[in-house]
Symmetry: C2
Subunit: 391 residues, 2 copies
Amino acid sequence: MTAQHSRIVRMKAAMARQGIDVLICFKPENSFLLTGFNPIIYSHPVVAILPLDGEPALLLHALRDDHGRSESFVSDIRLYGAWSTKVTMGPTWMDGLRAILAEKTLDRARIGIEEDHMPVARYRVMTDLLPDATLTGASALIDRVRLVKDPDEIVDARLAAALADEGMRAAVDTLAERRSEREVATLSMAAMNRAWCAMPDIEAADFGTLEGGVQNGLWTWALYGDRMFRNCDNPTLRLPAEGEAASIFIWAVANGMHAEIERTVAIGPLPDANRRAIDTILEIRAAQAPLMRPGTALAELFHLTRRMLEAAGYAANIPGRIGHTIGLGAHEHTSLDGRTDVVLEEGMLFTLEPNLRVPAHGVATQISDTILITSAGHEYLTRYRGGYLEV
Amino acid sequence: MTAQHSRIVRMKAAMARQGIDVLICFKPENSFLLTGFNPIIYSHPVVAILPLDGEPALLLHALRDDHGRSESFVSDIRLYGAWSTKVTMGPTWMDGLRAILAEKTLDRARIGIEEDHMPVARYRVMTDLLPDATLTGASALIDRVRLVKDPDEIVDARLAAALADEGMRAAVDTLAERRSEREVATLSMAAMNRAWCAMPDIEAADFGTLEGGVQNGLWTWALYGDRMFRNCDNPTLRLPAEGEAASIFIWAVANGMHAEIERTVAIGPLPDANRRAIDTILEIRAAQAPLMRPGTALAELFHLTRRMLEAAGYAANIPGRIGHTIGLGAHEHTSLDGRTDVVLEEGMLFTLEPNLRVPAHGVATQISDTILITSAGHEYLTRYRGGYLEV
């Protein structure tokens, strides 16, 4: 039963508009979107096949059969490869895919592929495998459908946000004890994992690559003082100093859906320049509230930020973007910048993170929340205290 | 100073043999191999450029400048994009790459690309950007060079193995308390993170994708009883039952290098069929010891496993492979199967994991270690107890 997922209906509508007869997804986030299955280890391709007319099919290596059947909402599961006593369609995914498309008389069809993800070598395999088909790029189409989340995805995003909040609570409490970046990060991750143990049916795995696999995606990192200018780094044993700021970043995942929360925390009272930057950002965030509702052009959030930063004397420090969409990826495709043409709709999920970097004055902020657009306006999914924080 | 890294010398020798003038790497594991920089978040491409004649260059988005300079062993770092007051080569990586290749008079050269990783859309951008160049596949060449590890990589693999051992110790101790899969996994991960806090200069980040980023790659998972037949799954709240087996899987990472350790642990005495399977696997592992040295064809390890399984009555249960190479990927390219043409050399790193699945009898084993080939033979990098384990 996939009819319940409006993302499948919306994907098919988009395919019809673009003249695509069947969509073939290898990208982990996208094959999960269409099937609900994350094998964690992707050494053997997981292929989601969505015909414009008909139900989706899932093509798996035989060793993923038991796992796939237990987790996918797709009932038409096909196997390739050799494993134990499993009967398969042939030794490779190519055998399986060719047979499935022939069976559905789609081997001469217009096939949507992920041109932003499919390696050029695999593309050549596909053109050799399906000489009478037309392969056409569908990455933008898929990204657009992913902008709006289904109710089941929103349930999971709320759980991810609850885990992230728990991680932030633990991180700020640990930072209050003046512990190192790495201790704050690892104790916060341990707190999220403890909270996960109280959520029976939730997976905390993320989406892997050909060479790896992400068993656990409950992550905290921390950058103190001038290390904030690195923007991202693995935590070190650096201790916080009085009068500097620390930024804590958290990503959490629940059944594939992500939440992000970030806070800049003062270690004792801050110099005026740093405090003023934080207060300015908090004012900008508050001013966005009436705009965050269906019908607002997403770029308006950016323009409001730019205008308020200019008015506060930060015209030289306008950020390139003030957030990004989020969902099956921690960083999904659309940026909250001045160029996006996206208009907010109910079910969209994004991070709101207008921030400042003024290296010459040692000033940086990193405050972010995960926000859902609702019919009535919006809802902060991450709820840890959002005001000025000092420990 | 990159002359110290024999991987750069070996890569250039392989490029010369294949007539490649310059190698351009976007794949995180490979750009790290050539530059030592992992930005963790790869939303903006990180491009490693290795000319056959000359030093490597690293092309980064300006926001990664401070981070990249602090961590890369490459001194020639170039920037694209806009960030703060940074001066860049242009708004996109394409601007930077075109200018660098023109400056090095390599814009009409034979350029090695990662055809197993580069998306078809990016390949089209590359052919438009460099109309007079010849793009040629170099994925197999790079994978082959990665088979042999440099001394600095082996130092890091040993640290990863020490973290993995600590995780296994904690997992087995926790399993002895009859706790759930998820508690065993999360407490083991917490133990690895505590051990990491005692290693000042080590990063525990893994390699990310366009939509994510892996802040922490110290992972444990556990499958109890018949859940072992899923081969991989996120841990659940299932408790162990007396007389069944549990498998614990651990991946750890230190500065990009991975180690793997896996153990099947008996929950009290096992039925004869399960015990006999474990004992057979332990005998096979012991019998491999004299083969694991420079000069052995890797396929011999597989053939010995096959012969011994047949002799023990498991002819219907021969696995497809009995391990894989490991390094910057937890699963690198080469499988320990009957078809590989790799001959063992000093510096090679692989997992040894002959295992059994006999679903009809509820029998499964999952025992793995990370093994380094040395001049004298081999060394187990993971050292947690390798015999029959019962708690």
